[in-house]
Symmetry: C2
Subunit: 228 residues, 2 copies
């Protein structure tokens, strides 16, 4: 069974990607990054999801991005927007260079494991405002990965898989349910409370709820206030 | 004065690059990464070097790469080679994806500062065995950086400067001395003791000492044993 490193945030998207990678026959080494995010409950969710979906291993690595700030997710002084999903420009929930940092860490683990496959649950449909969720960014990272590593130099080519990058939230949910993902375990909310309950009004909650509605399935999310 | 983020390990190369960036008129924000390296004394050296060379700021960010291991620098069970500089292949002191991780963190800080310049003291002459020290890797990272960030998307182009990548150690030392670098403050040894004294026999010590000899200047390094 080939080894893969799967970035697992604890949210809906990455849980689905883990299920897809498992179904494709990979031994999945799930990697979660504690970067000082406001919604720390997603890290507990990641551990539960990794266990439920049969990951071969799970690590959580800490890197304190609050040292730089610059995002509503890493600076307590910047509020998470709750007024409706932003249609244009780059949202304040964008964390500078976060995906590059997370993919770099996945690459490090892959190199040590001898894994040639990275799985990443980026989605360019609902979050087109994040520059590091675009397909051209993913291709550039894959190219870099092959120049950066012993594996690349020695001809053991690394592949970056982003299987849900072009799917709608409803398509992701439909696929995940077929693969047995328990979305009740996942936490997507940008300001989830310590128990993992969601606000219902941040962009992430709104997109997630709309996805359940469009898929025509019950929203298993636990909310700490009634959804707006 | 334009802002720059300068990766500063505390060693000879990055100290020289900081001096070069200062001389070129940049306000230098020095970034050191505590990645669990064996030679932790280099982090104290970095703070001293940042102060001595007039950095506008200095941060040390922690990321525990011992969680992955796979290198003599991040796994206490793998010894640092001391028998002479390896001529072929990738040395065991290579830390998987380290430069990608460090550059990603520099990119995060640059994005928050609004800095369009990254300086990195990679050298491809003495360390041709490290895949992530090659010029083609640097070009691929620069390209990625411009796809990854708000700055790149909005047309504020990011540049990755690697001014010593093609210099010999002797050339680096000669230039640094002209720019007033106090190499006595720097720590290059892979197994420096807590006081920053060097072993004299690891690859890094051997290359550094040979550099001082070739430059015809006194080696200011403090050793804990007489050099071999």
């Amino acid at each position: 069974m080939p080894n893969a490193v799967v970035l697992l945030s604890g949210g809906l998207d990455s849980a689905t990607v883990l299920a897809m990678a498992r179904q494709q026959g990979y031994a999945c080494h799930a990697l979660s990054i504690d970067y000082g995010q406001r919604h720390r409950a997603e890290l507990d969710a990641a551990a539960n999801v990794a266990r439920a979906l049969g990951a071969a291993g799970h690590k959580t690595v800490s890197i304190d991005l609050t040292a730089f700030g610059g995002s509503a997710l890493t600076d307590a002084a910047i509020a998470v927007p709750t007024g409706g999903v932003q249609k244009q420009g780059i949202p304040i929930t964008y964390v500078p260079a976060r995906n590059t940092i997370m993919l770099s860490l996945a690459l490090a683990w892959a190199e040590v494991l001898g894994a040639q496959h990275l799985f990443f649950g980026a989605n360019a449909v609902d979050y087109s405002g994040y520059p590091d969720c675009r397909p051209e960014y993913m291709r550039a990272f894959e190219r870099l990965a092959n120049l950066a590593t012993k594996a690349g130099v020695e001809g053991r080519r690394l592949s970056l898989h982003t299987p849900i990058i072009a799917m709608s939230k409803a398509q992701i949910i439909e696929l995940g349910l077929k693969l047995g993902v328990d979305y009740g375990l996942t936490v997507s909310c940008y300001q989830a409370d310590a128990a993992g309950r969601a606000c219902g009004v941040c962009d992430s909650c709104r997109l997630r709820r709309a996805g359940f509605e469009a898929a025509g399935v019950a929203d298993q999310t636990r909310y700490f206030s009634a959804p707006a």
